[in-house]
């Protein structure tokens, strides 16, 4: 069973751009050195979802791209803003590798899932004659993520999309606990992927 969720989507286009069939994009995220908290599994979800939902452009899996560019796309060395792109691309070997991989865009993801509040109580006990739980617990989660599309040829952000999903999860228990979870992160992943695809389809 799934709990109810509320979704808010936003989109902004800054500059004209185009992506051609066969060109590649890479999902990136800012480093923990600058306090980024985006979960690794969320980035993996976006990678998988983008690969599954379209065949027009290639999505190079993030870790594969990081390994191809080692040591220049590690947390310490990867560009954190579009202002860093020119110095990043100034390395001949980096530029050549990016050209070989035909990477045109970085999709830079930021955001995280937070639990805003939780309440209620749930007690479980077990004895020789059996066991069970009793009570009611609930909590509110908000998964708020945005994607900034960085054009490597223009060395700037051509647009942003965002998805914010809120939901309340509940676990009522009368002997057996029945979790009714609001899967806000999974919904945000699906919504943000659709937003990114929608953005690229309008070039």
């Amino acid at each position: 069973m799934a709990g109810c969720t509320t979704t808010r989507l936003e989109e902004q286009t800054n500059l004209p751009f185009e992506i051609l069939e066969g060109e590649s994009v890479v999902i990136t995220s800012n480093s923990y050195h600058v306090g980024n908290e985006t979960e690794t599994d969320f980035l993996q979800c976006i990678n998988k979802s983008l690969i599954k939902k379209q065949k027009t452009f290639n999505v190079i899996p993030t870790q594969q791209f990081i390994n191809q560019l080692y040591p220049w796309f590690e947390p310490r060395t990867a560009p954190q803003t579009t202002d860093d792109l020119s110095s990043f691309l100034a390395r001949d070997l980096v530029r050549e590798r990016i050209e070989t991989l035909d990477v045109k865009y970085f999709v830079n993801i930021s955001g995280q899932t937070k639990t805003n509040s939780s309440s209620g109580a749930l007690t479980c006990a077990a004895g020789p004659g059996g066991g069970g739980c009793f009570g009611l617990a609930w909590w509110d989660d908000t998964s708020s993520y945005s994607a900034s599309i960085w054009d490597l040829s223009q060395e700037s952000s051509v647009g942003n999309v965002s998805a914010s999903v809120s939901g309340t999860s509940v676990i009522p228990a009368l002997v057996i606990p029945i979790p009714i979870l609001a899967r806000t992160q999974k919904t945000a992943c699906e919504e943000l992927t659709d937003q990114i695809l929608d953005f690229f389809s309008r070039n």
Partner: protein
């Protein structure tokens, strides 16, 4: 053996089996760096680079207590140094002879390894620090410089288990050491070559 001794023995056996042990098998990718041709570098790895084993018997954290780095550090230094210096020569750490075809000797050693568990840092992350000291000698074994190379890695416990998070944080710290070593060689290698020229 009375019941108390048996219980004590059982407790000791149980505690032994509870000790967590982690083996690190980090492999770094082939670095994307410009080769430095016509320069002969010899490297002598200290024992704590070749097979470092960390043991924290006083740890109260749930993180761990035994970490076997196996040959992860050795592979890291080999990969980075060989990518810059195609003719890298590796010498045993009891080597005392001076080779006529060597321009520089490098002796890396692990200076410090520290980590913080989520309980200690009061967040949901493991944070790992590595610090290496690299002594650099000219071809007459005169000390030219000391490089200090650090590495930092962190990993939240979110979707990972305890040992997996710590392993991932160490993996990131080792990769970060490789980054800093590559940057140091790019930035400071010319200065070393100038020092050798002055020496001559």
């Amino acid at each position: 053996m009375n019941i108390n001794h048996k219980l004590l023995l059982l407790l000791v056996v149980l505690c032994q089996s509870c000790t967590q042990s982690i083996v690190i098998n980090t492999t770094v990718p082939e670095p994307l760096v410009e080769k430095i041709e016509n320069f002969n570098l010899a490297v002598i790895y200290e024992d704590n680079i070749q097979n470092y084993q960390y043991e924290n018997i006083n740890s109260e954290s749930s993180a761990c207590c035994e970490i076997d780095f196996s040959d992860s550090q050795l592979n890291l230094f080999r990969k980075i140094l060989q990518s810059f210096f195609p003719g890298l020569i590796e010498l045993p750490n009891n080597n005392s002879e001076m080779l006529s075809n060597v321009d520089l000797y490098m002796e890396p050693q692990l200076d410090a390894f520290e980590f913080l568990s989520p309980e200690e840092s009061r967040n949901d992350k493991y944070a790992v620090w590595l610090k290496y000291k690299i002594d650099i000698y000219d071809n007459k074994k005169t000390l030219l410089s000391n490089w200090y190379i650090t590495g930092y890695g962190e990993q939240s416990t979110g979707s990972f288990g305890v040992s997996e998070s710590l392993t991932k944080a160490i993996d990131l710290a080792l990769r970060d050491t490789g980054v800093n070593l590559a940057i140091k060689i790019e930035d400071d290698f010319d200065k070393l070559v100038k020092l050798i020229s002055t020496d001559l």
